[in-house]
C-alpha cells in the first residue's frame, strides 16, 4: 500500500529497498543473442576474447618468469607483442598468466560463494527456527565487513598462499547471496502461489523448480557477474598495494605498480594490464540489460 523505506540497507534483511541492480526483466530469449542489445553483444565478445587470451595465452607464451636484464624495457616486437619489462621479462607472457590467475580465482570464489550462500539462504528461509537464527547471526557480522578487509586478513595467513585468497573471496561474498536468497525465498514461500502449491500437494521439488528458482535465477546471475568483477578488482587492488599474490607470480595490479615508474619510457607496459582490467570490468557491467545498468 504505502511506499516504504528500509532504514538499514546494510544491516537488516531488506526487501523493499529499491535496488535497480537486482531487477532483471529480460524477455525470454529463444536464441542466446536474441533480445540483446549491441552493447551486450559487444560486452560478450570482449569477455570472450579475454577468456580466450587467458586460456591460450599461457600456452603460447610460457616463459613468464625468465629474466634477461639486457632486454630492459625492450619495445614491442613480433615475438613479444608487448615488449619486455624492467627485468627483461616478456610482458605478454606475464599478462596472460596474470589474466588466467585473476579470472580463475574470481570465478572459483564466486561459484563457491554463490553455491554456499544460495543453499544456506533457501535452508534458512524454509526451515526457520534456530537454523535460520544462527545463519542470520553469522551473516550480520560478515555483512558489516568490507570484502577487501576480509580478503586482506586472509591474505596475511599461511604466508600468502593462493588458497587463502580464494577462501577470503568466497567467505567475504557468500553472505550477500545468503541474504538476498533468504529474503526473496521467505517472500516467495509465504506467498499465495506456494500456499496453493501446498494445497495441490505438488511437493518440494515443484516449489524449488517452479517458484524459487525462476525468482532467484536472474538475481543470482546479476549478482554473480557483479561479484566476478569486484573479485578481480579486489585481487588487483591487493596486488597494486603490494600485498596479496607474491611476486614474482604475475598479477594485474602488481604489474601496474611495477610498470608505473616507467610510464614515460614504456607506456605499453602500464597500459596492457590496465586495458585487461577495464575490459573485464566494463564487459561484466555491459552484460546486464539496460534497466539494471548504471
Amino acid at each position: 500500500m504505502t511506499q516504504t523505506i528500509t532504514p538499514t540497507p546494510g544491516g537488516t534483511p531488506d526487501t523493499t529497498l529499491p535496488s535497480p541492480a537486482l531487477q532483471n526483466d529480460a524477455p525470454p530469449a529463444n536464441r542466446w543473442y536474441s533480445g540483446r542489445s549491441t552493447g551486450q553483444l559487444l560486452a560478450m565478445s570482449g569477455l570472450a576474447l579475454l577468456v580466450l587470451f587467458a586460456l591460450l595465452g599461457p600456452l603460447l607464451w610460457t616463459e613468464h618468469a625468465v629474466q634477461d636484464l639486457s632486454r630492459f624495457l625492450e619495445p614491442p616486437s613480433l615475438a613479444d607483442p608487448l615488449g619486455r619489462d624492467h627485468l627483461g621479462r616478456s610482458v605478454v607472457a606475464r599478462l596472460a598468466h596474470a589474466t588466467r590467475l585473476s579470472l580463475l580465482l574470481a570465478v572459483l570464489g564466486v561459484v563457491t560463494a554463490l553455491a554456499a550462500g544460495t543453499l544456506a539462504g533457501i535452508v534458512a528461509a524454509w526451515r526457520g527456527g534456530w537454523v535460520d537464527a544462527s545463519l542470520n547471526a553469522m551473516s550480520e557480522a560478515l555483512i558489516a565487513l568490507p570484502a577487501i578487509l576480509v580478503v586482506l586478513l586472509f591474505s596475511a595467513m599461511a604466508n600468502g598462499e593462493l588458497w587463502t585468497l580464494y577462501a577470503g573471496l568466497a567467505l567475504a561474498q557468500w553472505v550477500e547471496y545468503f541474504r538476498m536468497v533468504r529474503a526473496r525465498s521467505s517472500l516467495v514461500l509465504a506467498g499465495p502461489a506456494v500456499e496453493a502449491a501446498g494445497l495441490l500437494k505438488l511437493g518440494r521439488a515443484h516449489i524449488l523448480r517452479r517458484h524459487l528458482w525462476p525468482e532467484l535465477r536472474p538475481l543470482l546471475a546479476t549478482m554473480a557477474t557483479f561479484g566476478i568483477g569486484s573479485s578481480i578488482l579486489a585481487l588487483s587492488t591487493l596486488g597494486f598495494v603490494g600485498i596479496g599474490i607474491r611476486p614474482p607470480t604475475p598479477e594485474l595490479g602488481l604489474m601496474i605498480t611495477e610498470a608505473f615508474p616507467y610510464y614515460n619510457e614504456a607506456p605499453w607496459m602500464s597500459l596492457a594490464p590496465v586495458l585487461v582490467l577495464t575490459t573485464t570490468l566494463i564487459g561484466l557491467l555491459g552484460l546486464r540489460n539496460k534497466e539494471s545498468r548504471a
Partner: protein, 328 residues
C-alpha cells in the same frame, strides 16, 4: 502530548536499532580478532623468532630472546587456550604493542583514525553534494543531455577501479599540470586528490539513487495531487519532492559505508595518506599482527557506526514504521 507520542515512536525503535548494532559490533570484533589469531597461528617458521625480530631487530635475535618471547606470550600452550587469552585481552581493550615499532598500538591507532576520518568525511560530503545535485538536475529531463552524461559518469565511476582513477588523477593534476601534490600530509592541499578520488566513486551511486528517486517521486500520486490542489512547481519541489528524496537518500549513506571504507584502504595506500588503511596495509606486509587487528577492527567498527547513525537518522526523519522488522 504530541511530543510524547513522537518520543514514544522514536525511542523504542531507536533502542532496538542500538541493541542490534551493538550485537553486530561485538560479532564483527570477534570475527576480526579470531582471524588475526589465525594469522599468528598460520605464519610459517617460529612465531617467537618473528616477534623477537620485530622487537629487537633481526641481528639481535637469539634462541634465548625467542625463548623469552615464547614464555612471555604463552606461545607454548594449546591453541584454544591462546585464543581465549587473545580474546580476553581484546575484551580488556588491550590492543598490545606493535611488533614493528614496539610502540603502544592504541596510541598509534588514534593518529591513524583521525587521518582516516578526515579523508572519509571530506569524500562523503563531496560525493553526497555533487552526486545528489547532479542526480536531481538530471531527473528534471530524463533522457536529456545532462541525464545521459550522468549515466556515462555513473558507469565510468563503477568500471574504473579506484586505484586506477587515483593514478589518472595523479598523472593529470600532479605530474602533468603540477597544481596539486600527489602524496604527503600536512599541507591543506594534500587532501584534495585522495578525497576527490574517493568521492568520484561514491558520487555515482548518490547520483543514480537521487535521480531515480526524484523521477519516481515527481510521478507519484501525492505530487500529482499536490499539483491539482493548486500548488506551484517550486512549492511542490520544496515541500514534497526534496523531502521525500531526502528520506530515500539517507539510508544509502549507510549502504555507501562499506564502499567508503574499502576506498579508504586503497586510496590511503596510493596517496600515502596517514590513516587506518595505510597502516593496515603496512601491518599486513610486515605481519605486525597487533597492528593488523587494531586497524582492521577500527575500520570494521567505523562501518557499523556509520550504519547506526544512518539508521537513527532515518528513524528520526521518516515517520513511517520500519518495515524491515515486520518483514523479518
Amino acid at each position: 502530548m504530541n511530543q510524547l507520542v513522537r518520543h514514544e515512536s522514536f525511542l523504542v525503535p531507536a533502542a532496538l536499532v542500538l541493541r542490534q548494532r551493538v550485537i553486530q559490533a561485538v560479532a564483527v570484533a570477534l570475527f576480526v580478532s579470531a582471524a588475526c589469531f589465525a594469522i599468528v597461528q598460520s605464519l610459517p617458521g617460529d612465531i617467537a623468532f618473528r616477534i623477537a625480530a620485530g622487537r629487537y631487530g633481526y641481528d639481535q635475535v637469539t634462541a634465548a630472546s625467542a625463548e623469552a618471547v615464547r614464555a612471555d606470550l604463552g606461545l607454548d600452550r594449546p591453541a584454544w587456550l591462546q585464543l581465549l587469552d587473545w580474546l580476553a585481552s581484546l575484551a580488556r581493550f588491550d590492543l598490545g604493542t606493535s611488533l614493528v615499532t614496539g610502540g603502544n598500538v592504541a596510541g598509534e591507532l588514534a593518529l591513524h583514525l583521525s587521518g582516516s576520518l578526515q579523508l572519509a568525511a571530506a569524500a562523503l560530503v563531496l560525493a553526497f553534494l555533487a552526486g545528489t545535485a547532479a542526480g536531481t538536475l538530471a531527473a528534471f529531463r530524463p533522457g536529456g543531455t545532462l541525464d545521459r552524461a550522468l549515466t556515462f559518469w555513473v558507469s565510468a565511476a563503477r568500471a574504473l577501479p579506484p586505484f586506477l582513477l587515483g593514478l589518472v588523477l595523479i598523472l593529470v593534476f600532479s605530474v602533468h599540470l603540477g597544481v596539486l601534490p600527489a602524496t604527503g600530509h600536512g599541507e591543506s592541499t594534500n587532501i584534495v586528490l585522495p578525497a576527490l578520488t574517493l568521492a568520484t566513486g561514491l558520487s555515482g551511486l548518490f547520483a543514480r539513487v537521487s535521480r531515480d528517486a526524484v523521477i519516481r517521486i515527481r510521478q507519484s500520486d501525492y505530487v500529482r495531487f499536490a499539483a491539482t490542489k493548486g500548488l506551484g512547481g517550486r512549492l511542490i519541489f520544496i515541500r514534497h519532492v526534496l523531502r521525500n528524496t531526502g528520506v530515500t537518500l539517507v539510508p544509502y549513506i549507510g549502504v555507501q559505508a562499506i564502499i567508503l571504507i574499502e576506498g579508504v584502504v586503497v586510496i590511503e595506500s596510493l596517496f600515502a595518506w596517514p590513516g587506518l588503511g595505510h597502516a593496515l596495509v603496512h601491518a599486513i606486509f610486515w605481519r605486525d599482527v597487533p597492528m593488523i587487528q587494531a586497524t582492521a577492527l577500527a575500520l570494521a567498527l567505523l562501518v557499523v557506526l556509520l550504519n547506526t547513525a544512518t539508521d537513527l537518522a532515518v528513524l528520526a526523519i521518516d515517520p513511517r514504521p520500519r518495515t524491515s522488522q515486520a518483514a523479518s
